[in-house]
């Protein structure tokens, strides 16, 4: 197990280095001039040159690369030209909002997709199955930005049920930061009203993400459940007179979980990439919005750092899933060993 973990960690590290190298050179290929942005439109050429030198942008590319990688090895993600702060400081500020949105969406996605899959798998090809398939396919077919704006239009503009965007009601005071997750911090501050307000603000961005992912997750979970339902051990269980719920939760689920987990891991990857769009639409102050604003001015360091962070997130999730497989299904462990 330790050897397996070590091997996966080394692979993960290599992936991160490859991402850093590729993103570094890709960002430099673009004919942009961040120093000109920093100097401001009316600055003289001398000022722009001075800023270029201050940020090492006048140095040869291999030298810039070596300097960046040495810094990276020391945990220095560089300086943001746009925010004029270290990227690490920015990430500390922006990351909790994204993690809260991702976690909330992920839990919501798991709960809804699994429930729908169970419903659909009870009578494959039936009305319920067909309806679920149709609705989830429509959800997936709608572009994320359009879905987000449509939800805003109905639930904020027309019905006044949910807020337009942001993490917390604008005119109110945000609870003291403890975890960075407003749902938790509201409770820690003892305010149920703040908790509910945070929940309301999470609803539309999370719904936008979840609706788009639902079809694939539901279909794959449904297929895994149906496949397991046809196995002999299920027939035996039925024959023994076990209740359908007991058969599902005690027997089928554990065996069907491996393919479901694989699909879920893939979906989490999509979730990370879609969070950029969703955060822009809902003015959600997370790393997605930070990435969008950094891309616009070719702020190199945050762009590379964000590629590394999101890859790291994906690598970690994959690693966790790899470790979970043997726990869920002992056959995986025996094959691995």
């Amino acid at each position: 197990m330790i050897a397996f973990l070590f091997k996966r960690l080394v692979w993960g590290l290599l992936v991160l280095i490859a991402v850093a190298v590729i993103t570094f050179f890709l960002s430099r290929v673009v004919p942009a001039d961040p120093a000109a942005f920093l100097a401001g439109q009316n600055a003289s050429e001398e000022t722009v040159q001075r800023i270029r030198a201050e940020h090492g942008l006048d140095r040869p590319l291999p030298e810039q690369f070596a300097s960046y990688m040495i810094g990276l090895a020391k945990g220095d993600l560089g300086q943001s030209i746009r925010t004029r702060r270290s990227v690490s400081t920015d990430l500390k500020q922006y990351l909790p909002a994204t993690l809260e949105l991702l976690t909330f969406s992920f839990v919501l996605y798991l709960a809804i997709s699994f429930s729908l899959a169970v419903l659909a798998a009870r009578h494959p090809g039936g009305t319920v199955d067909g309806t679920i398939r149709l609705i989830t396919m429509i959800g997936t077919g709608i572009p994320v930005f359009w879905l987000g704006m449509t939800l805003q239009f109905f639930f904020f503009y027309k019905l006044h049920w949910l807020p337009l965007g942001a993490r917390f009601p604008i005119r109110e005071t945000v609870p003291p930061v403890v975890s960075g997750f407003l749902l938790i911090d509201s409770l820690l501050a003892g305010s149920l009203s703040a908790f509910l307000a945070s929940l309301k603000h999470l609803t539309l961005p999370a719904a936008t993400i979840v609706v788009n992912l639902l079809a694939v997750g539901t279909r794959l979970s449904r297929a895994a459940l149906i496949q397991e339902q046809s196995r002999l051990y299920v027939r035996t269980a039925r024959g023994k007179g076990l209740s359908p719920n007991r058969i599902l939760f005690k027997h089928i689920l554990r065996n069907a979980l491996s393919p479901i987990l694989t699909a879920t891991t893939m979906q989490f990857g999509y979730m990370i990439s879609w969070v950029i769009l969703v955060e822009v639409i809902f003015d959600w102050p997370g790393i997605g919005l930070y990435a969008y604003q950094s891309f616009q001015v070719f702020d190199y360091s945050p762009v590379i750092a964000l590629a590394i962070v999101s890859t790291a997130g994906f690598v970690i999730i994959n690693l966790v899933m790899d470790l979970l497989y043997p726990v869920i299904d002992p056959r995986v462990q025996s094959v691995g060993s």
């Binding site: 600055a43 004029r84 805003q152 942001a166 820690l188 003892g190 102050p285 969008y292 604003q293």
Partner: protein, 510 residues
Amino acid sequence: MKLRNGILGIALGLMMGGVSYSAFADDASTFVYADAGEPSTIDPAKANVNWEFTVTRNIYDRLIDFDLADPSKLLPALATEWTQDGKVWTFKLRDGVTFHDGSPFDATDVKATLDRLLKIGQGQSYLVDDIASVTVVDPMTVKIETKQPTVFLASNLSRIEMLSHVDIDKHKDDQGQAWFNENANGTGPYEFVSWTRGTQIELKRNDKWWGKFPEKPFDRVLDRFVTDGANRARGLEGGEFDLANFVPLDEALRIGTSSGFHMVEGNNLWAWPAIYLNMDLAPTNNKDFRDALVKAFDYNAMVQSFQGKAEVGRGPIPAWFPGSPEKEEPEIKTDLDAAKAALAKSGLANAKMKCSVPAGFPEFRFAATVLQSSAQQLGVTVEIEEQPFVEAITAIKSDKSNCFVLGNANLSPSDATKFFSAHYLKGGFYNSGKFFDQTLQDLVAKLPTIADATERGKLLKQAADIVVDSHYVIWTARPKTVVPEPDRIGGYRIDPAEYINARFWEMYSK
């Protein structure tokens, strides 16, 4: 077990923490402004875009203000009197003014601010880069000497915000760049409270301000960063925001004429957008070819796209700008026959050109599309490439594109020479198509030295004519700025030299 403990901990917090924290306070005097972006800095020496000015303009004061209705009329602010004697200007300062930290404002602050601004050389420093030296005469008097006599110094100082010399001295290692980037201590109507990255900047009213607030001013201002124009419009209409900038025109017109809102209209745009043609790259390096494009352009389509809230410019300087020669200029209009004649004269047939359009501005894209269809009538193919701003301007500057679409506004209330320097003189940042004319260079250098307004007007007309005759720019439209304001709010005025900015100290609730 751990999970259960966690839940218990949260429940305990829920019971105990409620005493010290209240999210939902009575907040009637809070003003929420939806700004189109987040500042990169709040250092007045570097502030360069609209959403940075929003913050600095309300925290800091300037030596001089100007009448928004007549920008040539200067008004006292931190300076109460000023005189010019050749290259030397003398300013008498307002007595009894204090910074938000309580320290007094005097001539040392003016000197420290201007010295620092010119040393950093960013932001609005170009407006006062004619300054040679600043001398403290006494605590309430400061002398500024310029490199050559300039009549525009006082007017341009109305864009320069005054910092405390104590703050500058305290952080002099890096010229205060790190500190002023995210901290502020001004003498202005609002004090800086906090900056929540990605979300908002909070200000509170400075009740010791020397100026006058309206009867029901706002005690607290939240400057929210709302990047999406549709969200700003929807939030304004839905009551989340009290005011928003850069609301898309169709939304602004709809909201401004709907129940519970009124429309505030004004001028601040010189051209929106202007299309710059590359003087060095074929086929736009051919003057007759450029002339053909200017004449073929469908100006009516642009005016219609602004739903009538626009006119066609006759040159670079709008009629409402002090000393503008616009009224004497001939009309610029679509003339397809003349365009075809100009194209024939150019000797270019079936030409192809590329146009770089900064992304995020629907009007820019539309103008490029109008150019594309107008040019098509001449047999000219225009390829449009929408790119981020920096990439788009780099494309034309490095001769990878023939044209560049840009909005024009002048940040000086009455000095056109700074605009000309940035847009039409050699090395100007916005002179993306690399226009050069020695006579224009000389005229722009001479203009500030002319004391007589009539004489200055003549030279300004000559300068404008040179740009018009070169066919370097297509001024596609000059729209009015329209801002929908809720009926429950009052006091918003459009600043002709600051795009679409809010002077929070003039805003009040009804």
